[in-house]
């Protein structure tokens, strides 16, 4: 398949706010169920092991007209919960049999309770994760949380979720994670071959496709784009961070690239790259998932850094590993976790002499001029001064 076709397919998946793929998947076999989850992370393995399709719900983007959703939120709250409610009340996601609201911030936390009230016939769970990383403290609590989810889903599925089911799912997701790592490595190596406006869509497809299918898609994309050489531009290499929850519109990503930046790492769809390496397959699956979470998972602002020295480490490592020249901090307006974290990260970057710039967006931001100006100035200053 040519790049164009792959991207077109992903684009169609991205734009489809009625989740036809999910509906089709369910229709293909009677009794199939789908469970939605919000950013940043849920152990999708458990959903999958219960024979269900995990579906990432990342807001409504800039195509949805939020009419009902606004009725639930004041203007100083970010946009993703309102567009998510809009998806809910307009029946666009009625194909989901349940929703998981991970512990990310108070907004999503409260949304879990609102969902309980608004969609009484669906399975709803607030999925808490530990902020204590000791095995016998946070680990035990987390395993217990996962066990509840496992039991709940088993009830919903009408069958047991066995350890072997879980191991098989972990295996599948390990492969998906591997493909994702390859994709990110590839982009960092040849960003002109894999512009982020495409990579974004390819990753995003993983929010609605079954894992095996998505893994294949990622592999196909890498092969296809590598076969079609494109022009290399004189752009600055940047890491984009802060967009782990509400997503910027695609136009914004394009604007950043147009303004002269190659994005070589980002924190979109972190769930696909949350576990930094393969989760151990053998042994107690829940404990394996827990250990990976406690000791080998990505960092983001909704996670507590145990020690002062840990703050920013992850970001610095990403800059180093992907050879970035700077960091673009793009956070959703009114996103408390990202915006409270920002000054800390900026300070650390400064200390390490890494240039950075910051701006805010909303998933429906329409005016790109200020974004272009800021990203462009940033790229200008890197370009004009790097070799000099």
């Amino acid at each position: 398949m040519a790049v164009k076709e792959i991207v077109k397919r992903c684009e169609a998946l991205f734009e489809d706010l009625h989740f036809k793929t999910v509906r089709d998947w369910k229709a293909a076999q009677p009794g199939r169920k789908a469970i939605g989850y919000m950013p940043i992370y849920v152990p999708r393995e458990i959903i999958h092991a219960a024979g269900m399709l995990p579906v990432g719900i990342f807001g409504g983007g800039d195509q949805i007209e939020v009419i009902q959703g606004d009725a639930y939120y004041q203007s100083y709250i970010c946009r993703i919960p309102r567009s998510t409610i809009e998806l809910g009340v307009t029946g666009r996601i009625d194909c989901l049999d349940g929703m998981l609201f991970p512990s990310i911030c108070d907004v999503i936390r409260n949304l879990s309770g609102m969902w309980q009230i608004m969609f009484k016939d669906k399975y709803v769970r607030y999925f808490d994760v530990p902020q204590n990383y000791m095995d016998n403290v946070g680990g035990e609590y987390y395993v217990h949380e996962m066990q509840i989810l496992r039991d709940d889903l088993a009830k919903l599925a009408g069958r047991e979720v066995t350890d072997d089911d879980l191991r098989a799912s972990i295996q599948l997701y390990n492969e998906n994670r591997k493909a994702m790592r390859d994709l990110y490595d590839y982009r960092a190596e040849k960003p002109w071959q894999a512009p982020t406006s495409e990579v974004y869509l390819v990753t995003r497809a993983g929010m609605v496709l079954p894992p095996e299918e998505h893994t294949q898609l990622v592999r196909d994309y890498i092969a296809a784009t590598d076969a079609e050489p494109r022009a290399k531009r004189d752009n600055a290499r940047v890491v984009l961070t802060g967009s782990f929850c509400e997503q910027p519109p695609l136009g914004l990503i394009k604007s950043i690239e147009m303004a002269g930046c190659y994005i070589v790492d980002d924190d979109f769809h972190l769930v696909t790259r949350w576990n930094l390496d393969d989760v151990v397959v053998d042994g107690d699956p829940l404990w394996n998932l827990a250990k990976s979470f406690l000791h080998r998972s990505a960092d983001t602002s909704s996670k507590y850094s145990m020690r002062r020295e840990d703050k920013g480490k992850f970001l610095l490592e990403s800059v180093r590993k992907y050879g970035a020249e700077g960091v673009v901090f793009a956070a959703a307006s009114f996103c408390d976790p990202a915006l409270l974290e920002r000054p800390m990260l900026l300070e650390i970057l400064k200390k390490h002499g890494i240039p950075s710039t910051a701006f805010k967006f909303a998933e429906n931001t329409g005016q790109m001029a200020p974004i272009r100006e800021q990203a462009g100035t940033f790229a200008d200053s890197i370009k004009l001064w790097s070799a000099a």
């Binding site: 512990s103 609102m114 608004m118 204590n132 403290v137 408390d336 976790p337 920002r342 000054p343």
Partner: protein, 443 residues
């Protein structure tokens, strides 16, 4: 033993009331207590005491006392600075330092205060805390807040993660998780920082003291079920909860304060008196309201005035439960001290899920015979505010009582638009009135 030096008996009447502002005696008393605590904090390092900082919801005051810490509560500092109209500048300072306009202003007021040389609300310099007890209860921002403070001061930080009541109940795994953190993380850190060995019997002793004050506080807050209500459960309420939600829970001073207060209030009930407002006693109780959401501190007086001027009294509020929900029976339990601390944290108002919060308000409207619900939605506080509009609708639906919605902020004076709020309140009162008349006409 507590090191708080407050001679409670000497206080009432000691200070003459400033021009035209009326307060109950107990209000003076607690003001003294709070000021004394600021003084204690100011001199702590000089007298060789270590200083702890923690948050109001899920504050483990009894535990901190076991290690002889002087206790600072950054939220209270922020609110006190707000009331004294100092917060605006602090917030701007923090914003200039790179903090976003969008985030919680308590955090910015606190960081701004630090930049301004740590001058506390009473004008005395506050010490840099020796330990931050991050009671991560019911608010995500807490975590970032102390990370920010830690980044600035490199303070020792100890995290107490309190899981959220996502499905509306506390299960054993949650309690154990919190207890284990106390045992393995929090207590060892506090021991190390303070150099004081943990003594569980001391903790029990303080907790016993806590229950006395808790009992009296509940009686005070529930006195609003009377008609007329002898108290304002929101504007007055913030004074009543002051000591117990802060550095005083578990002290004999607090117990004393609450028994004095209870006495005063019971007397008012006997005399069928209304609440005391800054402009004197409220004579006619026209509207009884339940309020959800924290107050605005920068224009606290003006805000209150908009209510009592029109004869509106708040009979119950959720804000007076942020530092502990006691009216449904929870008390600290000296017999199982750590479990009880865990349950206290888990049960804080903002740690309840939405259906629970809605139930609670509906219950208040019913039990306190309120005319309706008013939501003061705070820009800063996602924990409180995200979803309040659904609350409003659900509660209206369930109780059939009208609800209204206003927006302001805690300590950012830029977000208190007096005319706007007044407009809404007036319309709301007139609406209740009209409705009442219409129903009266039918009967």
């Amino acid at each position: 033993m507590s090191t708080q030096k407050v001679d409670t008996t000497a206080l009432p009447g000691k200070k003459p009331a400033p021009k035209n502002v009326q307060k109950e005696d107990a209000m003076w008393l607690q003001k003294e207590m709070i000021n004394a605590n600021y003084h204690d904090l100011a001199i702590a390092h000089d007298v060789g005491r270590k200083v702890s900082a923690t948050f109001v919801p899920g504050n483990l005051n009894e535990l901190l006392m076991c290690f002889d810490f002087a206790r600072s509560l950054p939220e209270t500092n922020a609110l006190q600075n707000g009331m004294r109209k100092k917060s605006g500048k602090m917030i701007m300072d923090a914003e200039r330092d790179g903090h976003s306009e969008d985030v919680c202003t308590y955090v910015k007021a606190d960081l701004g205060m630090m930049m301004g040389g740590e001058i506390g609300p009473t004008g005395e310099k506050l010490p840099v805390p020796d330990v931050l007890l991050l009671s991560y209860t019911g608010c995500f921002t807490f975590m970032k807040w102390f990370e920010l403070v830690r980044q600035k001061y490199d303070c020792e930080t100890t995290m107490l993660h309190v899981p959220y009541q996502g499905d509306g109940k506390i299960n054993e795994s949650m309690v154990q998780y919190v207890v284990k953190q106390l045992k393995e993380e929090v207590i060892p850190t506090l021991e190390r920082v303070s150099g004081v060995k943990f003594d569980i019997d001391r903790l029990r002793q303080y907790m016993k003291e806590s229950t006395k004050a808790e009992e009296d506080l509940v009686a005070v807050l529930q006195s609003a079920k009377n008609r007329p209500s002898p108290i304002d459960g929101y504007f007055g309420g913030v004074y009543y909860i002051g000591p117990i939600f802060t550095a005083f829970r578990g002290t004999p001073e607090a117990s004393k304060f609450y028994s004095v207060l209870r006495g005063e209030i019971e007397e008012r009930v006997r005399q069928k008196k209304g609440p005391v407002t800054p402009d004197g006693e409220m004579t006619e109780e026209k509207y009884r309201l339940v309020v959800e959401g924290p107050p605005n501190w920068t224009s606290f007086r003006d805000f209150w005035k908009m209510f009592y001027e029109d004869g509106a009294v708040v009979v119950a509020s959720t804000y007076s439960k942020v530092g502990g929900v006691y009216d449904f029976g929870f008390r600290h339990n000296p017999d199982e001290p750590l479990e009880s601390l865990a349950r206290y944290c888990l049960g804080c108002y903002t740690n309840l899920n939405f259906p629970q919060r809605i139930d609670m308000i509906c219950k208040y409207i019913d039990e306190y015979q309120a005319d309706g619900l008013l939501i003061n939605s705070i820009k800063s506080c996602n924990s409180f505010s995200a979803g309040q509009l659904l609350m409003l609708r659900e509660i209206e639906k369930r109780t059939g009582k009208p609800a209204a919605f206003i927006e302001s902020d805690l300590v950012d004076p830029r977000y208190f638009s007096s005319a706007n709020i007044k407009n809404r309140l007036e319309s709301y009162f007139q609406m209740i009135n009209q409705k009442r008349r219409a129903t009266a006409a039918v009967h």
